[in-house]
């Protein structure tokens, strides 16, 4: 399965981006755990998290990742 990057050119999260945001919402905070929950390879999660951070949907505190208020709004 080919996975597209997590944020599309218009600044909105893609399907795989939303999957990662959902995993964060459910309490996962490290790339390793997100990879396990979503079944996506670790390298894709690490790369996707960088994009989500740059887009303002995720923030990183030490080694942990969490949703920003903007990221939270996207996940019901």
């Amino acid at each position: 399965m080919i996975v597209v990057p997590c944020v599309s050119p218009d600044g909105k999260p893609t399907k795989s981006g939303l999957t990662t945001l959902s995993a964060l919402k459910s309490g996962a905070s490290t790339p390793e755990v997100i990879s396990e929950i979503t079944g996506q390879p670790l390298f894709k999660i690490r790369s996707g998290l960088r994009e989500l951070i740059n887009a303002g949907f995720v923030k990183q505190v030490d080694e942990k990742h969490q949703l920003t208020p903007e990221g939270s709004k996207l996940i019901p």
Binding site: I2, V3, P5, P41, L42, F43, K44, R46, S47
Partner: protein
């Protein structure tokens, strides 16, 4: 590093050394080498998209993709073509040959990654990457380098065999003899002292002599 001409300095990684870090645009987003830490990684370059030998290789790499996953190994392709070209090519492979390419491909238009890995050999081509294979371990160390000429497609069984050999070596602290395949006897590392050489004879190894002993795993 060695000088080809005034303006053409090419890096050549060393076996056992750290693979050079990079950040590159790929068909699956922007990836860094460090994104792969914790997995084995096969980075391979091909001369150009939409070329016959490369197409057969991409199909062959896709066919061993699941075997690589079983070995905690990721695949990463590279050529100096654009992302649009890569996308068009893999869509064509899927449409015409029914094979989906599941791994990312670096679009190394500025040759930044290819130069770091010594993938351009000007005696073969000044503009295209040759067929290189780098097998990198979970700590980003280069464990194998293979270089093939433009006209010779790679052997996937050999790539899998090398990964099996490296992982066996790491796990059991042994070496693998010529033409080794999983299940075959392995070589016990030679003794470093006379005392070890004498002790070795007592072990239940299959020893041809004190320096050449085999065992089954």
């Amino acid at each position: 590093m060695f000088l080809i001409n005034e303006n053409d300095v090419i890096g050549l990684p060393l076996l056992g050394g750290k693979a050079p870090e990079f950040e590159a645009v790929t068909t699956q987003g922007t990836l860094r080498l460090s994104d792969f830490i914790g997995s084995w990684l096969v980075i391979f370059s091909h001369p150009a998209d939409f070329t016959p030998v490369c197409t057969t290789e991409f199909i062959a790499f896709s066919e061993i993709y699941n075997e690589l996953k079983k070995r905690n190994t990721e695949l990463l392709g590279l050529s100096v073509d654009s992302v649009s070209s890569h996308i068009a090519w893999i869509r064509n492979i899927e449409e015409k040959m029914g094979v989906k390419i599941p791994f990312p491909i670096i679009a190394d238009l500025n040759k930044e990654v290819s130069k770091k890995f010594g993938m351009i050999h000007s005696a073969q081509s000044k503009t295209e990457t040759v067929r290189c294979v780098f097998i990198i371990d979970p700590e980003s160390k280069i464990r194998t380098m293979l270089y093939y000429p433009l006209t010779t497609g790679r052997n996937m069984k050999e790539i899998l065999r090398i990964i099996d050999a490296l992982q066996t070596t790491d796990k059991h602290k042994v070496a693998t003899p010529a033409n080794w395949n999983p299940g075959d006897s392995v070589v016990v590392p030679p003794p470093g002292t006379t005392e070890q050489a004498e002790e070795r004879i007592k072990e239940k190894y299959d020893c041809k002599d004190w320096y050449l002993c085999f065992k089954n795993l």
